[in-house]
Assembly symmetry: C2
Homo-oligomer: 203 residues x 2
Amino acid sequence: MTELEKGPTGRRRGRGARERILGASQRLFREQGINRTGMDQLCAAAEVSKRTAYQHFAGKDELVTEYLRRFDPAVLSDIFDRTDLTPRQRLLAVFDVPPTTPLCPYIATAVELHDPQHPASQYARDYKKAVAARLTDAAREAGATDPEQLGEQLALLIDGAAARTRVLNADAFPTAAAIATALIDNALPATADHDRQAEEVPS
Amino acid sequence: MTELEKGPTGRRRGRGARERILGASQRLFREQGINRTGMDQLCAAAEVSKRTAYQHFAGKDELVTEYLRRFDPAVLSDIFDRTDLTPRQRLLAVFDVPPTTPLCPYIATAVELHDPQHPASQYARDYKKAVAARLTDAAREAGATDPEQLGEQLALLIDGAAARTRVLNADAFPTAAAIATALIDNALPATADHDRQAEEVPS
DNA sequence: TGTTATGTACACCGCCCTGTGTGGTTACCG
DNA sequence: CGGTAACCACACAGGGCGGTGTACATAACA
């Protein structure tokens, strides 16, 4: 269809440049990092002229910020909105990340930009707080004695697994899951048996 | 000064430009990040001519690698070599980091360089493994049922606290310490009481 | 004292970066 | 069919980057 209509240089013509730019950002920023990905390369990968890119985004900073906002649906919501899991299972499902994930882009972006006041860094903070809040909700739902503490602890485990996976080049999420199990079992003394039975027969 | 380095002929070398360069690296790389610190600025801060810097280090990559090697004595050894602490106290002392620490430079470097094969990234991996090994040793000394698991878990907590502190701009080490306490109490069922008493009267 | 390693001063190179100017082309929509 | 918004091609500015060339100064040692 329209994909086959190409210009002199083989680039796709037509509309939807913004989505192509953001798509290329997802791939390149994760694979190569933000600082090592130039706008030239990015525009080439998106099959978009440089001029068009700067008509959609005021600058690279704005593009980076917008790039970070496109993870939420896939990561946060998909796990927490599953109703087929018990609250306890939901708390643990966060650690069942497939090894395809290179690194939490929020941490990577915050480190690469190195400026806590950068809009993208602020968004990363907000996102991390939102995840902790979600975990706290699930912990409360599961009947934890101190839901806020457990939520914050599990959030730290996620970040620890992400950072350690990056540095060691080896999956650290199983270790985090083991810690999470111990913490949850400690925090849910009364309903632990019931929940563990529920895991055997999810529905 | 007392810092004497031998040349090919065994003679003393000069006035410590190398040390000044590495000192400036410690400050600037941590404060601004590696990618955002140019060699010009670095040499100016070290009060060293650019030419001299490139006579001591083949390139920025080599300087970065050497910069990473200068943390070991201050962080790793100082804590683990304290004999006035019980093994259990040593396992927890790692989380008593003063809030002056901006971020674990090993994680930051690995993320910034973004190349797992870079010598500095490899050294970061080695260092993280060494820390985990030290923790495992202490865990074994403390009589943990599975020292390797506990060591790896505590190492993950350290990295989690570091990463989270960076992203949230708030100290996450207390949370990590709380988790560590729970894990240690779980892993040291028999000797827990003895160790806790030993804390009251360290020597 | 003279020699040599060490360090200085500073201009300079080539590269890549973000970002723009200009003018032409294409797709959609009334 | 005509208008307009979106897009393209390409060159280029301006600056920072890592790294070098050249010529000179100094400190330590023989």
